[in-house]
């Protein structure tokens, strides 16, 4: 199960909400995959992340990741924040269950997207008003379209006829079968 730190951030998530005058917004994940996170940052003239807030749809670890990420990012310069990785977030949370590392650990991705959004806006590339952002439209991600491609009996996946390699768990099916025989 989850570490104490994960449960603490899940029970008492820090920096929940939106920022009205956010100048960077990052959105990652997708409700179809189970987790979705929207991150708002307010960067000041000194390139410092002055404020950061999040909204998350997801499991316990997704919420804890979001909360921890906001704590790591707050008060950092953009250069410092750019160095924050999903691994850093998981480490700060004292680890995440293995199966949650892939799907729920999206915090740093959201931050990088928000920073990119800020930089693009600043350079005049994007002119959208962050306050009028529409709620996300559910789209399926390619990496979650398992059904027609992978699945073996070692993960949870249906394989197409004659497949020897499972794209989901990266197993060589034939080798595994032979080793087990």
């Amino acid at each position: 199960m989850y570490s104490k730190t994960v449960m603490d951030h899940f029970r008492n998530p820090r920096n929940v909400g939106t920022i009205d005058n956010a100048n960077g917004i990052g959105e990652v994940g997708n409700p179809l995959c189970g987790d979705m996170m929207t991150l708002y940052i307010k960067v000041n003239d000194d390139n410092l992340i002055e404020d950061v807030k999040f909204q998350t749809f997801g499991c316990g670890s997704a919420i804890a990741v979001s909360s921890m990420l906001t704590e790591l990012a707050k008060g950092k310069t953009l250069d410092e924040a750019k160095k924050i990785t999903n691994k850093d977030v998981a480490k700060a949370l004292e680890g995440l269950p293995k199966n949650k590392l892939h799907c729920s650990n999206l915090g740093a991705d959201a931050l990088q997207k928000a920073i990119k959004d800020y930089e693009e806006k600043k350079s005049g590339k994007v002119k959208t008003d962050s306050r009028n952002i529409e709620p996300p439209i559910a789209e399926s991600h390619d990496e979650h379209k398992h059904d027609d491609q992978c699945h073996c009996s070692y993960c949870d996946s249906d394989l197409p006829d004659g497949a020897t390699f499972c794209k989901a768990c990266h197993s060589d099916i034939l080798a595994k079968l032979e080793n087990n025989a």
Binding site: M7, R11, P31, T38, Q55, T56, P136, H146
Partner: protein, 388 residues
Amino acid sequence: MEMINFDHISASPLLPEVKQAMIDIINGEYGNPSSQHKIGEKAFVAIDNARTSLAELINCRDSKEIVFTSGGTESINHAIKGVAFANAEKGKHIVTSNIEHNAVVRSLRRLKTMGYEVTSLSVDESGKVNPEDVVKAITNETILVSIMHSNNEIGTIQNIKEIAQITKEKKIIFHTDAVDSVGIVPIDVQELGVDLLSFASNTFYGPTGVGGLYIRKACRIFPLLDGGMQENNKRAGAENLIGIVGMGVAAEIAKRDMDKRLVHLKSLKNKFINDIPKYIDEYYINGNVENSLPNLVSISIKYIEGESVVLMLDDENFAVSTRSACASGSLRTSHVLLSIGRDSADAQGTLVITFGINNTEAQVTKFLESLKIVVKSLRDISPLYKGK
């Protein structure tokens, strides 16, 4: 504070009488029912009594039609693979439904890799299989139809009797996974007309790790486990004496108390479904309204994810289950919920609430109050929720 269990489908407490019977057998007997001496004979009698109790619970013609197993999963594997292997010369086609338990789904997946063909029938939005579809799916090669009695995620009960009439006419073996039905709702194998029926002891307050398979006499099936001649030569291995004795007592009490339990469980379910609009909005109640398990409510709550709900309710001392992919280990959306038309996002917010005989209406009210708070706090941080 004491936990309130609304997750009886995952685990049910042992009845005091079951516990006592198991303690008594631990203290009293240790024999191997296959032995020819008095120590073995006592164990044989204890198992035979349990077999009679199970036969009475599901109304077998002969108690020898009951084979004890290590639980629902083994029973299902035995039924499906045993029939497939024993009848391979006749054909290699099997008919099932899209909402079966993984024990069925994965047994069939295994058979597919061995050259068997499987037709899986879709269900309507309430989770019902149309018996007409079974007729259409059957070919000259069909050797087995396996359709579950009740669904473990949405509670829908199928029209097994009607399907069994079809298979009987066509002389095809019919298995029903009744793991979540036996001991909860009345089951009569003769009335249903099935050839094979799987059940598990922990559904009706017996111990886990023990269950059984009803095998109608003259049904052509191979054992899943080969070895000794136990269980009428249908399941090798020395019997789980303690577990089987516990299940036998649980079966007797299930039969004795069934009517009383049904009234109680239905009242809890009705209260939940009638009262919930007062506490939350934007949800679906899944499953068939007229014909479903009396102890199960499946609810998809929009804009939130089920594992978070389970964790928060756990903090409030309520145990419930979720069908969220995030909690499934495999991280895949429930095939049952997709089959009845829920989209992946709504499936994520699905709770399975299963009441037990010791739950009360006051607990339901307390639960709904907690659920309201949990749903609100999760929706407040959800980017999908635009409400007030």
